[in-house]
Subunit: 312 residues, 2 copies
């Protein structure tokens, strides 16, 4: 029997005692020279060369952290910029994460009108029909989606999640500096992000796993006061929290994103983990041991967040 992905995610978080996800956003500047050089030597200064460097970099990081975290979140934009070979590296990364037993959250932030959203949902979470065959294109377990187009842009994702036992995280309040420009505007005296949060709660209520919904939300770590409010607005939704570390979010600030049961949030770090070797704190590992540095940074992040949660 296929287990509902949100239940599997919660199970993974509990077993590994790690409410965290690592963002695999392999910008070229994060990839150590010896990996880049080898890949470009083999494939030339081509998109294929870049894609090979990404795959090698990702594989080593995954190999060093898969046993201590429940999930990985590749940011598709970082692959898409290398065109078709880059997206082949995205797919390879997803497959390799699955081989290693990791849950994959595709950070794709897609969203469109109904029929088009359906195609996106099929691309990332579903199966496409070709003749009599049904084929998974990218096959993530969760996807992030953008709500600007309203219910009919969201519904095809929910339908396919139901069918495939997968899930989504809907952008509610993003972590970036100008996220307030539209998201914080007051509508009937309340910010737009709260209205979006209420909609997420409505959708979530109709899409339940055991204790949590498979319709989650994205709320940036950089706005803890808003996170506190949104936690209450969407009690059944898991919150995917970007912005910890490099973007400025601190562990203590994240406590209100969790529910009383100690669950309900999963905190992402990307740069802080995958480029740990470039930080003073982990410089002793050296560039060649970048993946060991990533493991240590992951261990430290888990401890940092659990310590904050223990104080709760």
């Amino acid at each position: 029997m296929v287990i509902l992905m949100i239940n599997k995610l919660i199970d993974g978080i509990k077993k590994k005692n790690a409410p965290i996800v690592v963002g695999l956003d392999p910008m070229m500047k994060f990839i150590p020279a010896h990996i880049k050089d080898a890949a470009l030597k083999e494939y030339g200064e081509t998109l294929e060369g870049a894609a090979e460097a990404i795959c090698q970099f990702n594989k080593q990081i995954i190999d060093h952290i898969y046993d201590i975290i429940p999930a990985i979140k590749p940011q598709v934009a970082m692959y898409e910029q290398f065109g078709v070979p880059g997206l082949a590296a995205f797919k390879k990364t997803i497959d390799y994460c699955h081989e290693k037993g990791l849950i994959v959250i595709g950070d794709v932030k897609r969203g469109d009108i109904g029929s088009t959203s359906e195609a996106y949902a099929v691309a990332h979470l579903g199966k496409v029909s070709v003749g009599n065959a049904k084929i998974s294109a990218f096959d993530e377990d969760f996807a992030t989606i953008n709500p600007y187009l309203g219910t009919d842009g969201i519904k095809p994702f929910l339908d396919i999640c139901k069918q495939e036992k997968k899930g989504v995280f809907i952008l509610v309040k993003t972590s970036n500096p100008s996220s307030g420009e539209f998201q914080d505007q007051l509508v009937d005296g309340k910010p737009l992000y709260e209205l979006v949060g209420k909609k997420v709660d409505e959708w979530a209520s109709r899409c339940m796993g055991d204790n949590y919904s498979y319709v989650g939300a994205v709320v940036g770590a950089t706005y803890p006061e808003m996170g506190k409010v949104l936690r209450k607005v969407m009690p059944k939704s898991f919150i995917l929290v970007p912005g910890y570390g490099a973007q400025g979010g601190k562990a203590d600030d994240l406590v209100p994103y969790f529910n009383e049961d100690g669950l309900g949030a999963i905190v992402n770090s990307s740069r802080g983990i995958i480029a740990a070797y470039a930080k003073e704190e982990y410089a002793a590992f050296g560039e060649h041991n970048f993946a060991e540095a990533s493991r240590q940074a992951t261990v430290d992040m888990i401890a940092d967040i659990n310590k904050a949660l223990d104080k709760k």
Copy 2:
């Protein structure tokens, strides 16, 4: 010298007397059996087979309409659902359009926080660095983008447009039934889409071509009253108008999307053109002559819109 793409688009619209763009959204159900069968026979019931069918279908349509329209708008979701081979077909379609002198509007609706938006902008409009090489990944001329994350999600696109002489269309009011759920919410007594429109106008003012900005907007044909208001809010922006035909928008309703100079809007039709052969009106062409049916539907659409504009 590289001509600014918005100037080139306007030039194309004038020369061909056709303020229209054809949406190449090749859903499998639109592709005639003889094309699908041949492709699946060669490649099997695989993503590669589907991608081959899409390429053959697109090529014939492009061959039959490239001389009478200025631009093509492929919807990336329809390709993305066929995974890496599907995206290779997307890229091939873009390249073939360029060979035929067509301007390509990538309907990608991307948008994220700053550094991630930069990667998307590079992917679709810019060039990515690999060693000392600079390579175009998908190489559209324009891209559609989602504003929910605010200025810092938009700015990287504008920077790359400036550099590459390309352009964007920012979602303001979308054509789908539930677009009002968030977009119509009142902020200080005015709908959110107007606030987004004002921001688009601000961005547009700083990014001018000869008479129009290379920062355009998307406003659905299905909301003509709002189109009328938004035309005035964003006088310097070209409006990309989806929703004509299959979604219900009529030519007369579209007149207010244009400025007094007869320019300022470009109307999209997808299904209405590429699946014309399946409509009663063009059934006489027969499935084998689907591309001739598409040409006739394009000719009719141009006449329909120009007739409405002449009455102005």
